[in-house]
Point group: C2
DNA sequence: TATTGACGACTACGCGTGTAATCCATTACG
DNA sequence: CGTAATGGATTACACGCGTAGTCGTCAATA
């Protein structure tokens, strides 16, 4: 079987994926232009990331003349799910409730968040 | 000022920290013995981790004759908070509620979890 | 007392990551 | 047409990480 979905996406690579999750397909230059300028990346760096993501099998490209048009092969939701599971497993004994409790304890929840949670819980209870 | 608390703890290092968060101070051998055998680590590896954690300023030691007794300098809760915040920032736009929503959508919440959440929300609403 | 073993300190080494620079082919421009 | 710009491929390089091995020293033991 081919590369399993478990290919790890690093922090820097994630910045590139986010661009492509927001809009694809894009050329390397397109991607570079949409990377947060705060990162101060050179185009070369973006190219490197694209190459590595291709190698990891999480991106695909189609040729557009001399250039490539890149598109994600993995969905953002899948990445989010994997990363979240990892956190829950590593630090919360694999259970989600303690994570939510932690968020609550740390005042990480705004009033709006709490209101949203209430709605969520009502929804879940059904 | 000395090493800031933001020193990163790697996955392997975390295994060592967990042992010391559970019980400290401990000698290097004590720690090695309490590491999950499933990791198949040699004592040397554990020593290396202890050294690196000392260098990072997240552990301290006191001499006990010829050996060291290691103890954590950072609290588990602080590490958990940092890691959680990082996930929330990176993948959930810095807001906790979407994370909880994600957990819900992914059926990551058991009935018990939901009951716990209800109680939590009731508590938060006060 | 001479040897052996336990300890921390230092060294090793291959792979991933962050951050590019260089190479080579092709295309666009003067 | 010759030269520069553009685009992907390859190479670079330092640092962190996973996983130890080696060195020098001190203590226990035969």
């Amino acid at each position: 079987m081919a590369e399993q979905a478990s290919e790890r996406i690093s922090e820097a690579e994630l910045a590139v994926m986010e661009v492509l999750w927001a809009d694809a397909p894009l050329t390397a230059m397109d991607v570079a232009e949409r990377i947060d300028p705060a990162r101060g990346w050179s185009d070369r760096t973006v190219k490197t990331m694209l190459g590595r993501l291709l190698a990891k099998g999480v991106l695909a490209f189609e040729e557009d003349g001399r250039r490539y048009l890149y598109r994600p092969l993995v969905e953002r939701a899948a990445h989010v799910a994997g990363s979240t599971r990892q956190l829950v497993d590593r630090l919360f004994g694999g259970r989600a409730a303690p994570l939510v409790a932690h968020l609550a304890e740390n005042h990480a929840l705004s009033d709006d968040d709490i209101a949203e949670l209430e709605a969520l819980v009502r929804e879940l209870r059904k």
